[in-house]
């Protein structure tokens, strides 16, 4: 039981990385992207292929996974981000499906629907981090999420975060203040994509095998749910959302009722969360984090810029 709880925490950690990325795209940039699963898959396959074919260590594949996802983020972002937000949702949804389609069909590289097995376990200072012994893996993941959180938090308070907020609130006003809206949107998109790629790498070395079936549209919806449930524009809330959504999705197993509860239960619940939150609490559980400048920020963070 305790081991199972650790598993939930690990998945919450992997998804929290994706949720942080989704939050900078959707929560800060106000763009509805539905393709975290696509970048997640790209990251996973980058690690899986580099590690099994070329014998790279996990830590060497990590930046490649991030860069590759970022590159595809740029590729899909450049044409669509110049347009109104609604197109982005469809284009990114389509991109996610294309990724899965390609992974399923490119047999020589991805081994098709069979996927890639026997991915080596990651090493850290000579220790092998065995995913079956979950503590070490969880520890590694917590550190990564923490680093990502701090980075994003700093970023949100930087010039870029302010620019993105302005773009979200009113594109035309932002543009007339001299903000290059496409540039900042693409930046946000690339960042969100690369962190999802990193999450994919961790997924690959945690499950030690990758199959295209893991990276469905469902994953993107779960990540979106995490951000919406926690509160858009709040990184803490995204992590909280990741934990709650993972807890919900393993609720049937946790309560021992998996034979009673239909397997679609969680998906229906995710759909309901989206609708209900939008109607009754669009700001999410924690609400948007306000930018506190000056004294208060200096006090609570222990240092002003």
């Amino acid at each position: 039981m305790f081991n199972f709880f650790l598993l939930i925490l690990i998945y919450a950690g992997i998804y929290a990385l994706m949720a942080l990325g989704q939050n900078i795209i959707t929560g800060y940039g106000g763009m509805l992207s539905l393709t975290q699963a696509g970048f997640f898959a790209i990251g996973s396959y980058a690690t899986a292929i580099l590690a099994t074919r070329f014998g790279w260590s996990f830590w060497a594949t990590l930046p490649v996974a991030a860069l590759l996802s970022a590159f595809f983020g740029l590729l899909i972002g450049l044409p669509t981000l110049r347009l109104k937000g609604d197109y982005l949702a469809i284009a990114t949804l389509g991109f996610g499906e294309i990724v899965r389609n390609v992974l399923n069909n490119w047999d020589s590289l991805t081994n098709g629907p069979m996927g890639i097995q026997r991915i080596p376990m990651p090493d850290l200072f000579g220790f092998t981090i065995n995913p079956y012994k979950k503590y070490a893996f969880l520890f590694m993941l917590v550190i990564t999420v923490l680093i990502a959180y701090l980075l994003f938090q700093r970023l949100a308070r930087s010039r870029m975060g302010r620019a993105l907020t302005a773009v979200r609130e009113d594109e035309i006003a932002a543009q007339s203040m001299g903000i290059n809206i496409t540039k900042y949107k693409v930046y946000a998109f690339i960042l969100g994509a690369s962190v999802a790629g990193i999450a994919g790498s961790f997924q690959a070395v945690f499950t030690l095998s990758v199959t295209p079936g893991t990276y469905t549209f469902m994953v993107s919806i779960m990540v979106l749910c995490m951000v919406v449930l926690g509160g858009m524009g709040n990184f803490k809330a995204s992590i909280l959302g990741a934990f709650i959504i993972q807890l919900i999705s393993y609720l049937p197993q946790l309560t021992g009722l998996s034979s009673v509860i239909p397997p679609q239960f969680k998906q229906i619940l995710f759909g309901l969360i989206l609708v209900v939150m939008m109607i009754w609490r669009p700001q999410g559980l924690l609400g948007r984090e306000s930018n506190r400048y000056g004294k208060k920020a200096a006090k609570s963070k222990g240092g002003a810029e």
Binding site: L32, T80, R82, G85, L93, G94, E97, L272, V275
Partner: protein, 326 residues
């Protein structure tokens, strides 16, 4: 879990395995296949484009309304048909099932709008989109829960033996698709152009505020839009189900492609959606048959088209350029 969308989209009827050298007969064969596929896309695209024209948002749940329509049609048809052999009665039963399914989907569409979109009309742009994705997820997974994840066969209401016209092979099903989609589009076009309600719809899509001032009941117009769009989606769902079976996630991919069709034609433009649908159907068929795109990547054609259109002519082939006002 999600059934794999792509594996279910094998080219069953629409593609014709021929030689690589294209003869006239083969060309007409592909033309025919493309037109029928395109007719279905066009029917579904109409729902997207009408809603977008009036509410300026993408109804993500449209594809799942299509799926519900197909299920309702399937169950009703099987119920009405019983064990009677193919004949006049099965054809009548098919059309009765289709009409009831249209009515059911129309009510469902209006209900969804009332519950999930109407409260969000004054919210941010993101809110109705997220809500629509939620509705889509609820619908497809409820269907998977209630009816199972296996796909069901929608039996042909007639003998579907292909007819040979010279070297071109046409199935009665293709003729049915062409006739039904043509009739539906003509009725819709007449409705929008000639009736009072159609005029109100056009006025609302031009300027909602002014339409309201002119005494148009905008809420009623919006409900009507959802009703018509959903009814057409049900027809599209049933027509496509005859070849591709009925399953809980059938609406996802079909809906996406129909949306691409709507964008290609210029979203918000009714004739554009019809044209875009047929164009996309032709592109997919010819893309696989003549330009040698592997069948496994057939579904990516639509997205390639989407990206190209967005890059080159984002307002679509027949859309007007919208200037944003401050």
């Amino acid at each position: 879990m999600f059934t794999p969308v792509f594996s279910c989209y094998r080219t069953v009827q629409f593609s014709y395995e021929g030689e690589s050298i294209v003869g006239i007969a083969e060309f007409f064969q592909h033309l025919m296949n493309g037109l029928t596929l395109g007719g279905i896309y066009a029917l579904i695209a109409l729902g997207y484009t009408m809603v977008y024209g009036i509410l300026k948002f993408i109804n993500f749940a449209h594809g799942d309304v299509l799926m519900v329509g197909a299920y309702v049609g399937l169950f009703l048809f099987d119920l009405l048909r019983g064990s009677s052999p193919l004949g006049l009665w099965t054809i009548i039963a098919f059309f009765i099932a289709m009409l009831i399914s249209m009515a059911f989907s129309a009510v469902l569409g209006v209900f969804i709008e009332r519950v999930a979109y109407k409260p969000l009309r004054r919210a941010t742009r993101l809110a109705p989109l997220l809500s629509a994705i939620g509705v889509s997820f609820i619908l497809s997974n409820s269907a998977a829960w209630m009816f199972g994840t296996h796909s069901r066969k929608f039996n042909y209401p007639f003998d579907n033996t292909p007819v040979h016209l010279g070297d071109v092979v046409i199935t009665p099903h293709q003729i049915l698709i062409l006739v039904v989609s043509l009739v539906m589009m003509i009725i819709l076009k007449l409705f929008v152009d000639r009736t009072r309600m159609g005029k109100a719809m056009r006025a609302t899509s031009l300027d909602q505020g002014t339409a309201m001032l002119m005494g148009i009941n905008v809420n009623r117009v919006i409900s009507m839009t959802f009703a018509i769009g959903s009814a057409l989606a049900a027809v599209g769902g049933i027509l496509i189900a005859l070849d591709f079976k009925v399953y809980a996630t059938m609406g996802t991919m079909t809906g996406l492609k129909a949306f691409v069709a709507a964008v290609v034609g210029g979203i918000g433009n009714i004739s554009g959606a019809m044209f875009g649908g047929i164009l996309l159907g032709l592109l997919e068929t010819f893309g696989v048959a003549i330009f040698g795109i592997p069948t496994g990547l057939k579904d990516t054609i639509a997205f390639g088209v989407l990206i190209i259109i967005l890059l080159v002519k984002p307002e679509g082939l027949f859309g007007k350029v919208e200037k944003e006002k401050v």
